[in-house]
């Protein structure tokens, strides 16, 4: 996260780290159910074998495992069948864990929007992750507050790319607070009335985040994929296994 700040442990209990040996942390991810995690499809490019991955929950400092940490192996990776590597469209995937997580104060699922529940432009939301900070990679989870930008306005920042309805833009024209390499797959969450947090985006792509080319970040629009997510979880829970 560029321009963010270090998070307090447990503040984002749905944030998880997708890890693979020997590199360690590769992408962010989001807990949506006891056995289910969302992330982006591009994290698995060239690494689609479930056996090489593990998912770490309840962690704040990547370098210091805490007592609240839970680790699970990956049982299944479900990539969106329309994921297009060239234009980074339909950049979403579901990860089935090998066993349920134990829900604690530090490990809790986030809410998904209902079908048709959209986040309005100019809403302020939060992004989190262990991605690049512009001058270094952090050990501690970072958070940043970003503003939702309309697709039309977002398109004006990206001449050579098409912003589709599967995408969501957030950030600032100046790029002061933005997601960066290593944040991919992590959450963009907005607080609803009653203090509930809902997942609207997954960090996907943007301009080279610590270059002088600024602009907002582009996130996978979770609201667009609700039917697909619910269907896949049903199929893999009741029909395939």
């Amino acid at each position: 996260i560029l321009g963010g700040r270090t998070s307090r442990p447990g503040r984002w209990p749905w944030q998880c780290s997708l890890q693979s040996d020997p590199s360690g942390h590769i992408c962010g991810c989001v807990l949506i159910g006891k056995k289910w995690v969302l992330t982006v499809a591009h994290c698995f490019e060239g690494r689609e074998n479930a056996a090489v991955w593990k998912v770490v929950f309840g962690i704040n400092n990547l370098d210091h495992p805490s007592d609240f940490m839970q680790t699970r192996l990956v049982k299944t990776i479900i990539l969106h069948p329309r994921y297009n590597r060239a234009v980074v469209d339909y950049d979403i995937s579901i990860v089935e864990l090998d066993e349920d997580i134990v829900e604690t104060s530090y490990v809790r699922p986030v809410c998904l929007p209902t079908k048709g529940q959209l986040v309005e432009p100019d809403t302020y939301c939060y992004i989190t992750g262990w991605g690049h900070m512009g001058n270094k990679m952090p050990f501690k989870l970072q958070e940043g507050e970003v503003r939702i930008i309309s697709l039309e306005r977002c398109q004006s920042y990206f001449d050579l790319k098409t912003i589709t309805s599967r995408m969501l833009c957030a950030g600032y024209e100046s790029g002061t607070i933005d997601s960066c390499m290593g944040d991919s797959g992590g959450p963009l969450v907005c607080e609803q009335e009653g203090g509930q947090w809902t997942l609207y985006g997954l960090t996907s792509w943007g301009s080279v985040c610590f270059s002088k080319v600024m602009g907002p970040g582009v996130y996978s629009n979770v609201s667009h994929f609700i039917d697909w997510i619910e269907r896949q979880i049903y199929i893999h829970s009741f029909l395939i296994n």
């Binding site: 307090r8 447990g10 104060s105 809790r108 986030v110 509930q196 619910e230 049903y234 009741f238």
Partner: protein, 374 residues
Amino acid sequence: CISQACSGACANDPNCGTPHNKTNCSQCEPITLELCMNLPYNYTHFPNYLGHRTQKEASISWESSLFPALVQTNCYKYLMYFACTILVPKCEPETSQRIPPCRSLCKHAKERCESVLGIVGLQWPEDTDCTQFPDEKLDNQTCLMPDEDVEECSPSHFKCRSGRCILASRRCDGEADCEDDSDEENCGCTERGLWECPVNKMCIKHSMICDGFPDCPDELEEKNCSSCTNDELECANHECVSRDRWCDGVVDCKDSSDEWNCVTLSKGVRSLLTIHRSASDHHVCADAWDDELTHWVCKQMGLGGPSVAEFAQEADHLEHNKMLHLIKDWKKKNGSTFHELLMKGQTCESRAKVSLTCTREDCGHRPAARMSKR
């Protein structure tokens, strides 16, 4: 030849008999080379004038890349016509003989376009010596010259208003390629090689039509994709599956959509458990109901939070017979769908239907910040 004279397709082959008699001569064949499908003739004869033995060989040849690229320079109005007369020579159906281009056509093309090639360091194709082609005035031989109305651009090109041909892929790509910008005008879905959604005019790829994923408003691109009989229902991927197999616990549609949305709760004062089996709705008899089932059903509907079951008395006798019953050994079927545990055809002893209240699992709550006295 089988006999002294050549027969069949070889009958008119001038080389029949020398050096070897022929039994297998090439005949006229339909033009399949996309570059040349705008020609005023439809049949060709191989080998062509560039030495290619088949259309496939011609299609992957250097010349079939060179001419379409060269035509964009607008060096000669009839360049593509000339290129096609040597790539896919016209075949005279009656004689099965190829018709060459006229020498003047070849010379004009070479004079005007060879120098353009030279600028980028390329050479005019060696096999196109114009003297090999007949002079339409001197030689007593039929040769090809373009008519006024001959299409100058091949089907894989777009013709600018100025007359220049540009690659069709450059039409509506956001950058002007014609000097008059005409390639970026009227760029609707069709011009961009896409399909237009009827309601909001959104453009989608042709591959997205009838693929089981809704894209247009009202899913209009997913309509009329199959023709199922009255005994069948349409899967999300547009396969047809017998009504009997709908919601029977066995996947029949390849995308498993025959087993989706099989269990719902009725909307009303009592949220009755409703099973959509064989394309009609059934309620569930409360006989032998177990709390474990309550959670099972709610979880299948994506509602894994606290849940409560109630039983609603049913006075109608006909309804008793229509209800579904739990099978005896349902506990052994752990991990299966709930609707797989039900069967038809038994009387409901309790005369009560199952009604459920399901809730979502808790989500999105952060732990409260710990307070410490200062």
